[in-house]
Amino acid sequence: MSGLMWIVAALVVIAALSWVFRFAGQAVTGNRPYFRDMSYGVAFGFVLGAAILIWVVYTFIKARFILDETAAAPYFFFIFAVEGLIVAGIAAWLFRAAGRLVGTGGTRKLFRSMPLTASFGILVIIIYAILSIFAQVIAPYGQEEVFAAANTLPGTDPMHPLGTDNIGRDLLSRLIYGAQNTVGIAFVTTCLAFLLGGSLGFLAATLGGWLDQLVSRAVDVLMAIPSLIFALLLMTIASAWAGNQGWLLTVYMIVIIAVIDSTRVFRLARAVGINIVVMDYIEAAKLRGEGLGYLIFREILPNAYAPLLAEFGLRFCFVFLTIASLSFLGVGIQPPLADWGTMVRDLAQFINFAAFSPLTAALPLMAAGAIALLTVSVNFVVDWMLQKSSGLKE
């Protein structure tokens, strides 16, 4: 319990310091209104934040420059997190600066009002897109290539910088191919969900009547079942249908998740569509005698573009996380395809080696972190887009 005692002691010291801080502020600035009206809680917050910052900098410098390699091993992840955050910040700032200088007037204007989180998100999405498209070129080996040296630890063999797995496949290559498989499959699934949900939603909004009622009630029922649970139930049945053919199960999974997620897309497309259908220009188009296809593709779709794009980003995240979760549970993307969710599950036990071989323990976190990094980035971008389109300043 000495750890708890230390925390309590630190809090008491901070509480005392924050009183001193406020008093000093009042004395030094000659009782400026900012310090005069500062509540004790705000002062405490400032001192607490400063204390955490000092602790982070102190630990970082100690672990990075002073301690020798074995003593610094427990701090590996701490150092990595701090350096990663700094590098990410610098990269995002540089990317935004570049975007402000290069490009057409429109994109430059976009970059000028962009927060750092959004530019970081766009940068990461671009990197993932390049990785997944050119995985064959970038990865040193094939994803199913088996080497004689199985179970090599990362950092021991220059041929395999991240080591090999239990049957001798290069982990770095599988990590890179994971970008292609996991992201690619999630992307295809999201597109399918949008095709299905979007077209049904617009049709329901335009036609109304019994079609609208029928599809809406069906969607209500499907949405009443939690999606991961429903996906797991359907995967049980799909696995019975697919038998031993792994690729068939993957195809079934794409269809199942696309159908489940299309219900959410349907809701949005219908809601947006109904607001557009009552507009005067739709009435005018109808009076001109335009067909259903023209109405949906030329009149409704261009006006529903912004909310649908934001929904596409969010939906992609949900689909991606569902697929990763299913794979992690062992019923998603099937081997021999390299996939991040499966990798996390297979490598999870290595995390217990963190104290003496940090790089080995980092393996499952790399695959899980690859998933997290992409979804976080997409969310950053979508958050910025929503804030921009809603005109919210706060």
Binding site: S39, F230, T236, A240, L321, G330, N379
Partner: protein, 334 residues
Amino acid sequence: MHPVLKIVIQRLFLGLLTLLVVSIVIFIAVNSLPGDFAQAILGQSATPEAVAAIRKDLGLDQPAITRYFTWLGDMVTGNLGISFAQANFASFVGTSAESGSGPVTVLQQIAPRFQNTMFLAGVTAVIAVPLSLLLGILAALFRNSVFDKVANVGALSAVSSPEFFLAYVLILFLAVLNPVLPSLSNIYSDMGFGERLLRTLLPALTLTLMVTAQMMRMTRAAIINLLASPYIEMARLKGLSPMRVIVKHALPNALAPIINVIALNLAYLITGVVVVEVVFVYPGIGQLFVDSVKIRDIPVVQACCLIFAGAYILLNLMADVLSIISNPRLRHPK
């Protein structure tokens, strides 16, 4: 009759109807399996006579509608059937004479695990709800400050990461590098409350990280939405402190959306619990569900599915009802 009571009864009825339709969907899904239960129990090498006998025994020769109502009746009365794994095991050792009550039923399998899952969800809710309310109020109070921005980015990152990533990061820092909490949550029925709580803490913390973000953002947004209203301006002009303005004047009127989002997030826990239970080997209903999915143990899968769906519908219903009750315009109609 009071109009609120009327709406609540209406919603309850709708919820029951939804549950009924969901049970039909689950029944259809399970019955679209290739082959049938009898084949599945007996395996590939069964004789046609044996298959026919079991079919008759389980009522599989009846038409689908009859079977559905029998199944529904069984579900309502708590007779969830016998899991395939248990049935096979029992037939292997002969009739389980020593226990005297036949093989373990799905209900007996699920009941203790359901309690464990409820315990986990309860601990999570107890940590997450006050924490997110506090963070949301603070973020609204110090809006656009560094604290607000850090909390916003942190919340967005936490909510969009996969559960297992957060779980392994927590294991790494709190169980492996600094061994404060156990990384495996093996829980027994005869365990003391303190020990049980300690072992539940890490999965509960993971789930807390998942659900806090949305509740916090909603609290902040709901309060900030109100800050432009004239009565808040009035309270400010009276000279009340900012904290008092928010807690006493803004918060009561922001409660409806906040309560709604809290109930929705508790419903989300139902789904999130599956992955987290697998990571921490927590003996809850989610783990049983995943294990049964892998071995295609249909009776357990459909029972778990129905329980999850029921809890989900119930919590959504609660969100609905609570947001109606917390709306004074509906509570006191003209």
